[in-house]
Symmetry: C2
Subunit: 198 residues, 2 copies
DNA sequence: CAACACACATACGCTTCGTATGTCAATTCA
DNA sequence: TGAATTGACATACGAAGCGTATGTGTGTTG
């Protein structure tokens, strides 16, 4: 084999650049990452980068899209396994906290992403986690399990709470202990949404 | 008069630089703000800046400290006016959401701050809002109003929820309407902390 | 009043981004 | 099939910004 079409080659270089960027952005942060070093590690030059992504922000956009898609898939898989929609919502929230502990997610999606690209809900990828949480909340309201509150607002606040919990856990000297506390607080807050106390 | 001591002069230049930086960082973001322009607007040069703050991050640190102190004072003043500690907690949270609507606070303290300086709880200023929320929560737990949950965790999640609510409100085309929804969701979540449903 | 210290300005080098130009292979079409 | 053209990527260039090293004048000290 080894004979590849042009479009396949292009897709491959895009993938290589995104992969290198994920590493560099996660390890050094967006601002500190050099595009010369980035592309060199992928066996390319900045020419390929500007040709494929326009500019540095375009590359970050692509990286964030990829990460966001992966996160949504993982969270969905976890939510589905839960017995009820309510348990699914809690499981998704906890999963989100745990995912936010990974340096890639924290640095790129949660810190540099909003700072460089602006409000996450305006991203092309639409922030998969947010959308999914909102849908779950909508179902729970329809079932009468959750009080009738704006689902988007609820999803926003839950995600925000999870994010800050993750930042806290990640910076703590004893992550396991702090994670448990964060999850407990998260569950307590979420119960405020219920129509009837458990 | 007009005869000023050296230390007074120094304090004045620091204040001028911080004031210019607040404007520049808020309007253009930390990365895009030029230190040449910054200092020129304050009637100085980069020499003064490096002498007083070490580097660009040091200046951001100083700006964040000042903003954080102001925020803590404002939130405290609002919390005190409430009838009970519980109402105070809610009022503080809502005040935090509303403060986060101001470009200065949002851009500098909430977006660029964490991205450039790292986890807010590790900042020298200690994130005044966070500390105050935690103390209020501790009192409420002691009074039996709030369930016994780790106060730090609660404060973290509440602040995180408020932050994301603010980002959402700020990016929306109809801030007033969205703000109302955000506040409603915030109150609902907070009620999950109560020992007894209202 | 002479010598020093310090706050700040000026000058320089290095890195990095974005663009403009060049090159070579793959596709197209007569 | 072979000449022309497109397009993916590399190379070269200019501009801007940060940090540091050095200069300068004023206030302080003995």
């Amino acid at each position: 084999m080894a004979a590849k079409k042009r479009s396949e080659m292009m897709e491959e270089t895009r993938a290589k650049l995104i992969a290198s960027a994920r590493k560099a952005f996660a390890e050094q942060g967006f601002a500190a990452a050099s595009m010369d070093d980035l592309t060199a590690e992928a066996g390319l030059t900045r020419g390929a980068l500007y040709h494929n992504f326009g500019d540095k922000r375009g590359l970050l956009q692509a990286v964030v899209d990829q990460l966001d898609t992966e996160m949504a898939q993982r969270a969905h898989a976890i939510g589905v396994r839960a017995g009820s929609d309510w348990d699914g919502l809690l499981a998704e929230g906890v999963a989100y906290i745990e995912m936010a502990l990974e340096p890639e997610v924290q640095r790129i999606v949660l810190l540099d992403g909003p700072a460089v690209l602006g409000d996450p809900s305006q991203w092309p990828s639409q922030n998969g986690c947010l959308q999914m949480t909102r849908q779950t909340v909508e179902r729970l309201i329809a079932q009468g399990v959750v009080r009738p509150i704006d689902p988007e607002a609820v999803a926003r606040l839950l995600n925000g709470a999870a994010l800050n919990a993750a930042l806290w856990v990640a910076a703590s000297p004893d992550p396991q202990d702090v994670l448990a506390k964060a999850v407990e607080a998260f569950r307590a807050l979420a119960e405020g949404l219920l129509a009837r106390r458990p």
